[in-house]
Symmetry: C2
Subunit: 263 residues, 2 copies
């Protein structure tokens, strides 16, 4: 998409299956733990840069397979969330976090205004400009997409195990997320919960607020416990299980709308 | 702003006072009745292209003077709303209206998908990408702007005179708009009304939905009856009257927040 590419000098955003005509558009903001040369390592060890604080392990694999199964475009990040967390606005302390869980991020302390703007202009704006362009393309074509963002979360948070396996989170409109919850409970053996382990109140729905809510697009943020998507075989199995859940959820809300319209 | 400029091949967006540090950011989506050569005249006469259907007469003059008085950046369109109405999403029939009031727009009938996308990619995306970049710059600098969009409306609509002189319209959060209404009633002799002659339900708050609401930015859309801003002298007088209204409204909501925080 020309509009996004022109400003993506750091190659921070990837778009796959651009012309795919299926009803969904898949987004993966925390797909990568890549640290481009211009940003150094933020003072982190190799092990820290492999850990869940740097990215959402398994999320890109699930997102790619979902995009294939659902014939959907995929927009994903190529840069670690520790350099810029693309699901946070530039005004958020979480955009360039000084701490993440119990990890200190030395390279994010004492950021100058110039460095704050360099990351905003170089990472945040190209990613969201590209995503906006892909959504606008679909809106212009009369084929408004359902926005699905793919995330993973750590099974142990500050020492406490988490029981939830599959969280479905929504921004302003809960309709599609509730339908996904119902279909996931019916079709999978996962422990599925609405607005867990996070919710919009935790500031985790920025991408949806920016791109789905202003256009009244059905949307959901999917959070998978990362021990369930720990290798390519598990990622594929998860995506193959979730694709029919998403399709059934969309069919369900469209049926409801049709019945409402004819009533 | 590099992100916006790179894709603005048609020169559809103007930015003035970019570095101005005042608390407001002024937007004027319907500033121009320019028809770039690549789009022809849409089959309209010279007179039709001067009429209020093609732009908001007086709005740019007011917006420029307000930006000067308030030390604010101004983002304005350089293309007629009849080619693309920048306050409408690409999915809206109003983005490239076939009719406006009682005027027929021949050049907007039977648009091909390619032409729909050409205007979306060439006009809608560069304008909103540039505006997004200016807002992100302010957010990154810790100086989140109040978004004020400037519009004008025709005094006679389908033959019926309108009494309202100054309409203040909001998207999701009414706080700032209500404060503007109170200050305008106290400080001007204008017939001031909230959410008239249009409201968010009429699909007129797209710019605010896209740029103010996702960042929780205070915002208002100001609608001036165009017979009150019919020449440069009147535009200047109106802006000089409105600037202290906006400043007082902002002071009022900030005082309320401070009191709320200390209570």
């Amino acid at each position: 998409m020309a509009t996004g590419r022109g400003s993506d000098r750091l190659n921070v955003v990837g778009v796959e299956n651009r012309a795919a005509p299926g009803p969904f558009l898949i987004v993966c903001e925390h797909a990568s733990n890549h640290f481009p040369p211009g940003f150094g390592t933020l003072g982190l060890s190799d092990a820290d840069r492999q850990a869940h604080i740097a990215w959402d392990p398994g999320a890109l694999g699930v997102a790619r397979r979902l995009a294939r199964n659902l014939d959907a475009p995929l927009v994903h990040a190529r840069v670690s969330r520790l350099i810029y967390d693309l699901n946070r606005p530039p005004s958020s302390t979480g955009a360039m976090a000084k701490r993440s869980e119990d990890y200190d991020i030395p390279g994010n302390h004492d950021l100058t205004p110039a460095e704050h703007w360099r990351r905003t202009e170089g990472i945040y704006l190209p990613f969201h400009t590209t995503l906006h362009g892909e959504i606008a393309r679909r809106l212009a074509a009369g084929n408004p997409p359902v926005i699905v963002t793919i995330h993973s979360f750590t099974p142990v948070w500050f020492g406490t195990p988490r029981d939830v396996e599959f969280g479905i989170i929504h921004d302003a409109d809960p309709t599609f997320a509730r339908a996904v919850l119902a279909e996931a409970k019916a079709r999978t053996g996962l422990d599925c919960r609405l607005n867990e382990p996070y919710s919009a109140a935790d500031e985790v729905t920025h991408t949806l607020r920016l791109h789905a809510t202003p256009y009244d697009l059905p949307h959901a943020m999917l959070e998978l416990r990362n021990d369930l998507v720990a290798d390519p075989v598990a990622e594929t199995a998860m995506a193959d299980g979730l694709a029919p859940v998403l399709s059934a959820a969309l069919a369900a809300i469209r049926n409801d709308q049709t019945e409402g319209a004819s009533a």
